[in-house]
Symmetry: D2
Subunit: 315 residues, 4 copies
């Protein structure tokens, strides 16, 4: 990630603010406010604003007149209770806003989460930066054979080199031709004074999906956790997980009590179906259970055995 | 509106906060933060948190790295442009949270605006306050004859007195019986130590719709304006308009540039249909136009003539 | 539940429709289309329209050109997979619309589910029916002592009789006074030709919360299941569960494969936290575990033991 | 647009359905159900399901027991009234589902409308079709000089030829290299049996933004009109307008009364700000008005004069 001098100054200017407020603040989050936290090769995440803290959840759950915080232990108990019983509205009372730079193919995945507010940098209006995502060697995975939408082993040697060359040269060529069509270079200078440029809203179609875009993305705490639950999961595509992991850290700085409950009940927890419950009950009773009688599919059976570390039952 | 000593202290404690933040602040809004602004006879509105200011709209519309504010005049021009062309997403980047006390029949109207976050005081869990809305004499209107969902002339004299007595005595009696069923008084004391009380989730059904409830209500700036456009309008029921008018004032303190654009383009503006446009065009050309030829209904015609103050054409 | 002659005829007329369509249909649901299924003492649920069936979920998950149904067994496998892995969007592709008559205090609970479309009968515009909910004797529960928002034992004898009398007489008196204020009876006749009536939008505030209202309520299959998961649960208030149970039956008629998966993975399933998983793992390994070392609260511990029927560990 | 034999058969099979239903139907829409209506060079729109018709709007606005249709003229009056006064919920009671094939850069614009349900063809899971959008010559516009996000004159001659060549060759080369990386051709055949293919979720990043994707897109009537109002507007990008225009035709077939009201009040109508109203009032009164005194910006002034065809006042 490389920022221009102007961008660095803009960020410094924001960080130099020292405003007074009667609102609650999240001191650990304030420490990294506006900072561009690097993600992938050219991307970043910046927290640019937030509203509320752990006490706000308690306050609105109680519809109280005051700050809502009586004692940390009481608040923690209530937040855990709300999380465990899937209460949603108190967690909607906190809000966070990010500025994110990310490859377009990841932006397309990200935006499927509709309960958020988005302003994306407009390629109808402006020229996109000359930056493309190229995976690190260790992330250059082959198609998984077991899972139609997952990754398998890492691709190595000549084939890996070839893939990276293709990605790089195609992104560079299509960007170069984007400039040609626009009759304008990425720095804004005109190429040929005697020519008109193609409309930006058309020229952009020549760019590859690893081109970086950026947006402001704002969501409430509940929907942030829904996003992170799916996107910080090991089933998520690596490239979006990189962003989700950084956001998990901002969650911890912002609402540490909620973060703990989230890790315990959502991220680290597991769900057991009605049929799965019977299997576990029988195992606890020392009864014999097998895949065939369980009514589970092989995949479900193995997921259950793995969740409870019953290694010898995996088939 | 009457607050208990504890409530007053809770509010004072919140207002005494003096936190430092790198976030943008809205100084005029900070001045009234947490204050209980009276509404109707026992209700109130309190701003309990907010995120962003006018510059946040500009910042996200530009997806900029910095504060977004270049010059007030430039920002104002952009905000007016965004408002005029119905750009929605930049206005979603600011958020506000209210604590509201209001009669249940108004709460039922209010909650039809779904794009907001709500935590209501739970009458399954707690006993509701002994407070009911009773209209002022000047708001005791008869049913409108012209408009099936509007108000007509004020009811006066004996009939008015009777109505107010009925409202008061019914609310008091049903509340008293609510206490009897709960076997508990509004202050929490038990009525008969030898009896069980009816479940709160059942007893509440005996209350009348003018009983006050309260909630935390949080929304973004776009949806706040959508709410105010409908609820501060003269077609809205008086009792919700009282709240909307107070909120309009908080809007002005929070985002003064946006407030101006909102008043000009939304609240003070009008819409003209395709057929209506032709009528106005003809009038501007000095042509004769009449209701019959216009293709408008009588109601539409009159609404159009009123919007443009063409008094002599009203039929 | 009692319908007027006109209402019965309206329903019959709808049911007599025999239209041809190229759309998919749900034959079991068609059988009860438009029928008023009774709920509580005066309420009902009617399915008035729907879109899609089980095959529509498969079709959109595959983004296929055709009907999506290859074989029932394949479809069933895919639907189970989608449900297990919390895929949401394919279930949003089916839609259902209900006409519901329900007490206002239940309507207020119901409407907290915001991801639905609602048109409620307007008491600003019309006079509400003279119908109030009165619980059956077996549902007249005392406040739970263990759970602040639950029910305990049934109230019986004199106290029960008293409660029912109060509910009945208060509802009747407030309705009677509602008519007096409106200067109009529930059947539309005027009371005193020489008087104006109070505006309907005001008079309604005198009604008690057990008065029946009605609405059209439309939602997609995903959000219907979210609603039913919470509202058909034994923690839900009895009065809303009555409606949820009827809707569960309509779900089964509409999308039987999805219904089965829903019952297995959502309704009958359980969630286990990270800490809870360790407890179960230890028990499966024959290790000794107790509440103190588990890091669980007493309540969590007991919920876990109950979920897996480990009765002797309940503390 | 070219469909495979299998796709054509799938569509025919759907169209051959002849189901009976008690639901309301929209006969004109049934005529084109499932048909692939061509859009751009390789795209299409297919209506694959719908719920409700004009009478459903009336029915839910009235919360009626019956079909809601009394007389067409009454229904039409009510629908016009609802549209004029921005009533939203009755229009949410109808639903439509499309299958759309469209270039990725248009899909990215489209998906900004969040109040819809979407299932997109997954390039993590499958290989995308070898189809790219190439503009017709008459749509190869230069960047507008007046409007930073619009189009100006058409580009012609050698430059046009060059642009089209670049778009074509870049799309073909990047697609070819996509196949190389996948070690698989677009028809599913393996290229080199001795090699693994790159994970599909990675290889897709090499594709250009004019590659076609497809999705199921479902929305309610209100949100469809919000979409069409913005996307069938002449300010919208040509490539999305092509789709919006086709959808306007499906709207007409589906709910003809609503379509008429929509064209009159939304598409053909105009909005006038508070300041603009004063200008028109003065003009109607024969008073002199000019830009400077009006308080309008030059752009606003001209938009107003154009809306009412006051050609000689345009500055």
């Amino acid at each position: 990630m490389k920022l221009t001098k102007d961008q660095i100054n803009d960020i410094k200017e924001q960080q130099a603010q020292n405003n007074k407020t009667k609102r609650v603040t999240a001191p650990e989050l304030e420490k990294i406010l506006y900072e561009a936290l690097p993600a992938l090769d050219h991307g970043f995440i910046r927290v640019v604003d937030y509203m509320g803290d752990d006490s706000s959840i308690v306050q609105s759950a109680r519809v109280s007149y005051g700050k809502g915080t009586k004692k940390v232990s009481t608040d923690s108990g209530l937040i855990k209770y709300l999380m465990r019983h899937w209460h949603s509205t108190p967690f909607e009372m906190c809000e966070i806003k990010y500025h994110v730079k990310l490859p377009i193919f990841i932006a397309r995945q990200w935006i499927r989460h509709r309960t958020a507010n988005v302003n994306e940098y407009s390629a109808r209006y402006s020229i996109l930066d000359k930056e493309f995502y190229l995976p690190n060697k260790e992330n250059l995975a082959a198609q998984s054979i077991a899972n139609r939408q997952g990754r398998g082993e890492v691709i190595e040697g000549e084939q890996a080199k070839k893939v990276l060359e293709l990605l790089k040269s195609d992104a560079e060529r299509t960007y170069h031709n984007y400039e040609t069509m626009l009759n304008q270079r990425y720095d804004g200078t005109t190429i040929d004074e005697n020519k008109k440029g193609l409309a930006r809203e058309l020229a952009r179609m020549n760019l590859t999906l690893n081109t970086y875009t950026q947006w402001y993305w704002k969501t409430d705490l509940l929907n942030l956790m829904n996003f992170l639950r799916l996107r910080a999961d090991h089933h998520a595509q690596y490239e979006i997980r990189v962003y989700a992991d950084i956001m998990l850290d901002t969650l911890k700085r912002w609402v540490p009590i909620t973060y703990d409950a989230f890790m315990d009940y959502r991220v680290g927890g597991t769900e057991v179906s009605a049929k799965g419950k019977i299997v576990i009950q029988k195992l606890l009773n020392g009864e014999d259970v097998n895949l065939t009688d369980s009514g589970l599919s092989k995949r479900e059976w193995n997921e259950l055995m793995e969740a409870f570390q019953i290694k010898d039952k995996i088939v």
